[in-house]
Symmetry: C2
Subunit: 420 residues, 2 copies
């Protein structure tokens, strides 16, 4: 059997460490040139495969590939594009196989969240039925931390660290302003369905009175009366109140807090953001002066404050993907297995893609305090190791030095267009 090439693509929302995974994968593949040919990356994720827009990573220097380890975002471009089921759109899968065949690709590495694992799983199945053997390895990545089986997801730990550090710092700020000015600070974080990221803010509160004082989870229906009571209590007791709110915070009927039905002067629907809604509610109900922040992409791009644990794990799953492939495995995803909490130890495990696909891991109820506004000791035990360690990028002139790859295209071999 001739030496096969590998296809690697990044999928969905990027993270500050998905390139560390690419680094682990490419560096490991380069150590096994006897068995794996070139690593072709999909330009803009799986679209790159469908459009036959492949990037030849062998054209990048060892130094550039090493720099991926400390570079946020998706170096080859990502995409929000979900393949349909083979029954609905077999042509897409046939096209994938056609491109893989044309470029002698025998390995399919897909780096993403739940949808991507589902895609990897489908490709692994279709390859059998189409008689084109390809080893499919899904690689976990998601700031949402909602993949099953794996203890945690690469990408999450760094967002968690950013959120915990930021609310601690803002808490200190508000505390010093509270006497004559701002008494309430509201910070909005990602997580439309699960409160993992919001929960991470809770790590900053190590002792009574520390910020954040309130966390609003998507899992806990918002009750205004209880919330306002707690806000007033905090201002009375600590002088101020620092709040972390998940973008997915919602009322009991499922209406998002952010969806307050406001319109601008032109009749447009309100501009979004749950933080200003919560802040305004507090102002209306209690009259406190407020400030609010929406971290948005800053939180998931913040490589400058990445968690070393997260970077190491992101690298490790990329490395493991190649090693699994070399062991002849397919239709699996490397996982992170927690070996012990204290000291924190982890190792790489594996999960069948069939068991990963289409399963969302929610926060256990036991991770949220009874009043619904904080995290339990159990949650803290789970989260704490994930933000451990700093892994600073190199700086020049006061700015982090992130790499931009050459991204040299692979010459097309098919003369066919494919409509995405």
């Amino acid at each position: 059997m001739s030496k096969k090439n590998a296809f690697y693509a990044q999928s969905g929302g990027v993270t500050s460490v998905i390139n560390a995974t690419a680094c682990g994968l490419i560096e490991t593949a380069r150590k096994h040139k006897d068995k794996i040919g070139k690593v072709y990356a999909g330009r803009n994720g799986v679209i790159g495969a469908l459009a036959e827009e492949l990037i030849d990573t062998s054209k990048e220097s060892a130094r550039s590939i090493a720099a991926l380890r400390h570079t946020p975002s998706g170096a080859f471009g990502s995409c929000r594009y979900k393949l349909k089921n083979p029954e609905q759109d077999r042509a897409q899968y046939e096209r994938l196989i056609e491109v893989f065949r044309a470029h002698n690709i025998g390995y399919f590495f897909y780096n993403g969240g739940g949808d991507s694992q589902d895609t990897s799983h489908k490709v692994s199945q279709i390859s059998k039925s189409m008689g084109y053997p390809i080893q499919c390895i899904g690689i976990p990545k998601t700031v949402d931390n909602d993949l099953p089986i794996t203890d945690n997801c690469p990408g999450f730990g760094s967002v968690a660290k950013y959120v915990a550090v930021s609310i601690r710092e803002a808490g200190f700020d508000v505390a010093s302003m509270a006497k004559t000015s701002t008494k309430v600070f509201v910070m909005e974080v990602m997580g439309r369905h699960a409160g993992w990221i919001a929960a991470a803010g809770g790590l900053a509160a190590e002792k009574e009175g520390d910020a954040p004082h309130i966390i609003l989870f998507p899992e806990v229906p918002f009750r205004k009366t209880a919330f306002m009571r707690r806000v007033k209590e905090c201002v009375k007791k600590y002088g101020y109140c620092a709040i972390v709110v998940s973008e997915g915070a919602a009322y009991k009927d499922g209406t998002f807090l952010a969806d307050v039905g406001s319109v601008d002067a032109f009749g447009h629907k309100q501009l979004g953001g749950v933080a200003p809604v919560v802040a305004q509610m507090i102002k209306d109900e209690a009259g406190y002066k407020y400030h609010w922040a929406v971290a948005d992409y800053l939180q998931r791009a913040a490589r400058h404050i990445a968690s070393k644990t997260d970077v190491d794990q992101a690298y490790a799953v990329g490395k493991a993907a190649i090693e699994f492939a070399l062991q002849g495995k397919t239709a699996i995803m490397p996982t992170i297995v927690r070996v012990s909490n204290n000291p924190y130890k982890w190792k790489i495990g594996q999960a069948s893609l069939a068991r990963v696909a289409n399963v969302e891991k929610m926060m256990p109820a036991s991770y949220i305090t009874k009043d619904g506004f904080g995290i339990t000791k159990r949650c803290r035990t789970y989260l704490a190791p994930l933000i451990k360690g700093e892994d600073y990028p190199p700086y020049k002139n006061g700015l982090p030095q992130y790499v931009e790859l050459k991204n040299v295209p692979v010459r097309k071999k098919l003369n066919t267009d494919f409509k995405i």
Copy 2:
């Protein structure tokens, strides 16, 4: 003459390095115990003096004081409270002198922005007319960078670094998402009157195509047509568009962009934030998918990504304040003097408070490009050294370790209340 005590207070919006100034001041005072008695800090700024709520910093360990150097916010509390003119409210000044006299205070150190320098100046004048000698030293602090005479203001460099790093990281993120998802990212930064902070975002764009592609300054009247043309150009040319907008961005008639007159379902005025307004405008005009972030307090509290230059200068002005006082000086403010750009060298100078009070330093027109959307080479030359160097705080369990002082109160000697 008996050894006099010193009064130190933090004023206005805090920064990530104002405590480094407190550190410089207290550490230096402790080296001169033969000449300066205790350093009393005002609890919540100058209010602490008026209310006779003084903090005895001699009760803090050397280690705690040293930790102020890497702790953001105002360790003794700050306040937004402007003393009236002596002609309008002489009682306030009489009260200050009364408290100073009761506690044998001979040095008044006031750490703040323009208003605070004005207050220091007034206190220095009133001390003469009231026959109570007190040396008044203003100490510069403001993220707005708008104090005159000094080359730059402690506090600004670290916000500048935060903004430049953040827009670089978010730019990388958007670039990788742009093919199928987000094409425009808008980041709102502080600066209601001057565009210094927004300008700092421009440091991230070191070469053609780098984020940010557009900066909206308060100094440049917003022109929608030219702006939208530029946004479309960027998306066409670079695949995406990253924008930094100052909270003070406004139309020609002075109306803030943020003030779009929208109301929520209850008829409340819109919730604020210029970033969502700009993002929505782009969506309406060009249909691009957008994301936006509002950094708010996160930017000025972000000690984790402080500029080393800024930290060093913040410490130095605190140290200089004591040294000036020991030299018998009064009614002055230590300044930062730029000695050379390449290599960047600076030293401490001094300015008369009479010349500092009530003067706002605006951005020179020559710092903004002709099209109004970027910074010039000259601006870059000015800004670049201010974000140079990293000065990471210590971490434990993945979180920065910021100090909370004991803040032991000084026993009151007056039996009088004073209504603030």
